[in-house]
Amino acid sequence: MIQMASPTLMRAATAKFEQVLYYMDAPEVVLLDIGKVSKIIAVATDRISARGFFGAKVSLAQFRLYLQDRFDLRHLMLRPDRWTWFEFDLPEDRSVRVKLDPIDLTPDIIARIIPKHGFFARDHSEDYEAITFEQRSVQRFEVDGQWDMREFGKFHAQISDLYALTQSVDQFVDAAVPLEQKRTIMKSFVKPWEGGGSYYGFFRSLAKTGGEGARPNIKAIQWASPGYMDVVGDADAFDRLISLIEHFADNRKSITDNYNHLWSYLKETNYLNRSSRTLERTSPVRIEIGERAKALGKVLGVTSYRTLKQMAGNDALVAAKVLLATERRVSRLYDFFSEGRVSVSGITVA
């Protein structure tokens, strides 16, 4: 049995009927609206249960992926990312909120109610238009010189990490983004921060929490030299990323100096491989780390130290380490451009 909390302990929830997604003479799959960032997708159960519908609570991000046929309804209802299931009846009056009764996902429910594999959003009888998919565009990176497959992977990894970070910062500072999403972003910063694995895990978590919007996807690669790599993502995010590389090229010395200033201090105080657990809030070391990180944040131009510190739950050391990791990624990307192995039409990187 899969359960998040005992149904009896969960407070009564309500949701707003949004629309029917699939008719087969009668509504068989419906959608409810519950909060700003969650939906309940439900299947009719009136012929197999005493209740009218059985639904799973999913995030808007997961629902978007379902609408793109990335998985079927069975998968969505078995593994909803909110891990909550309800049964309910639709009220006669459509304007009345739907009363939801929490229920555990039991083997019996899986066998009797969860759809079999093979029902995708493409099978819906009704369009769902409330979600507008952001315009994703193709950014072409021209490649030249000698490359091996590992280097292509490395190049894409640097792009992906910086893309996820800048998109997450945008969401974090956007007043319209719900608090719940901001908290999810902050959770990505919760890592041991005692070695390389944390950095990898951090950027991966950011890309995951940001959903499709925080991940640029490779659309095409022409392996020949000269060739190209087409990456699909948000046009503004690509513009900003390329600006960062240009900015790095123009301010390389100052950025590198500030990077070394911070890195050497963490090395000297032994905090490169240690978390902030032993670091007092008012200790001079913490204050010095904050000062040096602030200076690096200022010249790097990705985001301010202050914002990163907020995202990191007010942990100066984590914010400093994220800034160092960000600098390394911008620097590696810059290397590809400065070596003449990558170029973007209309942009000159010295």
Partner: protein, 119 residues
């Protein structure tokens, strides 16, 4: 084309009256009964919350019967009748794999069955 017993403004505008092929009506058994060709409105069921009265009076057809039967609430249905409905037999409106069909007055849809298969 005449229709009887439909709600006002139904079938909706625009709709299609051309020939309709490769569509399926899902059934409870190999042999369709008259009940299988009725809409919920014809069966006397009240329109539920969230449902559209005009859709309620249509007969649902599908181009993907397998997907429909993956829903457990429809598991009592086991077969699908493939239909080739000639032009003028009724009005229809397609969206993705689903088709709403409103038979014209006097149309007997069972005569347009070309095959019945277990799904």
């Amino acid at each position: 084309m005449n229709f009887t017993g439909l709600p006002q403004s139904c079938p909706p505008t625009p709709h299609d009256v051309h020939e309709l092929t490769d569509v399926w009506r899902i059934l409870a058994a190999t042999a369709a009964s008259p009940y299988d060709w009725q809409s919920h409105q014809q069966r006397g069921k009240p329109v539920p919350a969230g449902a559209d009265a005009c859709k309620w009076s249509s007969m649902s057809l599908t181009r993907n019967p397998k997907a429909a039967l993956s829903l457990r609430n429809l598991a009592h249905l086991s077969h699908a009748a493939k239909l080739a409905i000639p032009a003028g037999a009724g009005a229809h409106k397609s969206k993705k794999s689903h088709v709403d069909f409103w038979p014209a007055a006097g149309t007997d849809i069972s005569q347009f069955v070309v095959a019945v298969e277990e799904v």
